[in-house]
Symmetry: C2
Amino acid sequence: MGRRLVNGVDGGGIAADDRGLHYGDGLFETMAAVGGRVRNFALHMARLTESCRRLRFPPPDIELLETECRHAIGEQSSGVVKLVLTRGPGPRGYRPPAEPSVTRVITASAARPALAAPEALTVRLCDTRLGQNPALAGMKHLYRLEQVMACSEWSDPAVGEGLMLSTDGRLVSGTAANLFVVRDGRLETPVIRDCGVAGVMRQVVLHAAHDLGITSAERDMGLEALTTSTEVFLTNAVAGIRPVRVLVGHGEWPLGPVTLRLIERLAATGEA
Amino acid sequence: MGRRLVNGVDGGGIAADDRGLHYGDGLFETMAAVGGRVRNFALHMARLTESCRRLRFPPPDIELLETECRHAIGEQSSGVVKLVLTRGPGPRGYRPPAEPSVTRVITASAARPALAAPEALTVRLCDTRLGQNPALAGMKHLYRLEQVMACSEWSDPAVGEGLMLSTDGRLVSGTAANLFVVRDGRLETPVIRDCGVAGVMRQVVLHAAHDLGITSAERDMGLEALTTSTEVFLTNAVAGIRPVRVLVGHGEWPLGPVTLRLIERLAATGEA
């Protein structure tokens, strides 16, 4: 692990006129690699393909991306693979070139040290909010400045994530994770309508809940939803399900039965 | 003209782990160069410095930037200079490094061919809207995907710009220009509170209006503001003031006396 490929070339750089740099005109996927393969690869590629359609990128060459991901990961290795696709180099001006030459950057790295033990995950509520725009919601585009600002709000290493509200005060997600709560035995997650990312692990969890007969719903929720929740957890493609124990100043939750059933289910299916 | 400097080096590339590429974690300025010098340089640097403060970047080295801009432009040349500052390379993760090594990209290019003659500028209303977030409003950060999407809505070369609304339906700006209207002899421009860029030429025009004794106001305006306007124009640092003749499907305006006075004033002071 630790290899980076730029357009298939080991250790390449990015052209200084790349539209990904100049305009955030691109997408990314952060994926877990297990035993040399990307976990939930088809789901990541489905989201990427749909996002390419929305941004009028050419459809991604999935076979090529799979080959390059495996090459970057290396045989039997595990860790994290990040794929960035941009609309490539171009002249100054927002208008996309008619025939873009897409840039792809694939970076494999060893998994980061494990976060605090699941039962101890402490999160905080961020002041920085997520702007709302239905035209961009759901996609993992390159605009992550809100998340950058949110993450710069705290330095206490005991705080493992930050929760973010939309500008109109709805609870949306962590900075790099989707959010789930359990209320009256029912699994709920914020609807991704005008901000936030439609996470692959979020989708995996919703499917697993269905398979286990756990009722689930995507809905608007405010902070007050947390006060009536009996379980809270975060999800992302790399870390899977992480139970939230404490939201500083707002609440505490035990590791509960619904969360545990989901964790066990995803471990059994190999999806997390 | 036509030179690009990356961290002072002619023709350099960008590291594949640059945070500007990965997170839109950076700022830019697009400036006019006249006779080898950047026009309104101090105003551009004032905005950049204030934006660096808001994003917790180190303050920009203005002397160094001025030297590099002049070097990129070349003696006595005129055209456009684009400066990009990013938080530089870094490991995966949104949290900014404590001691970022800022990347600077300075690109000088010949001025683009003149747009349609001022009296003929035709604009359209874009479907893509601007998401709202007070924490980011006003800055020229690298997230321009909304503008990219807006510009991909039309291909008719007779349409020179697109106007954009905020997601809550207020008239904000062009894709790469601020907007002014004249109503009852008074100059009005949308207030930059939760989206849009606080343009340097917008500021120059507001100052010029004050000097000329033209009353001006920054206010919220909807599309209906246009129907009661007698003059409409767009501004940016490169093109100065461009009168809008037609907003397709919404209205037509003559080149009016307030616009003309402002154009003459900025020509006289050398600010546009």
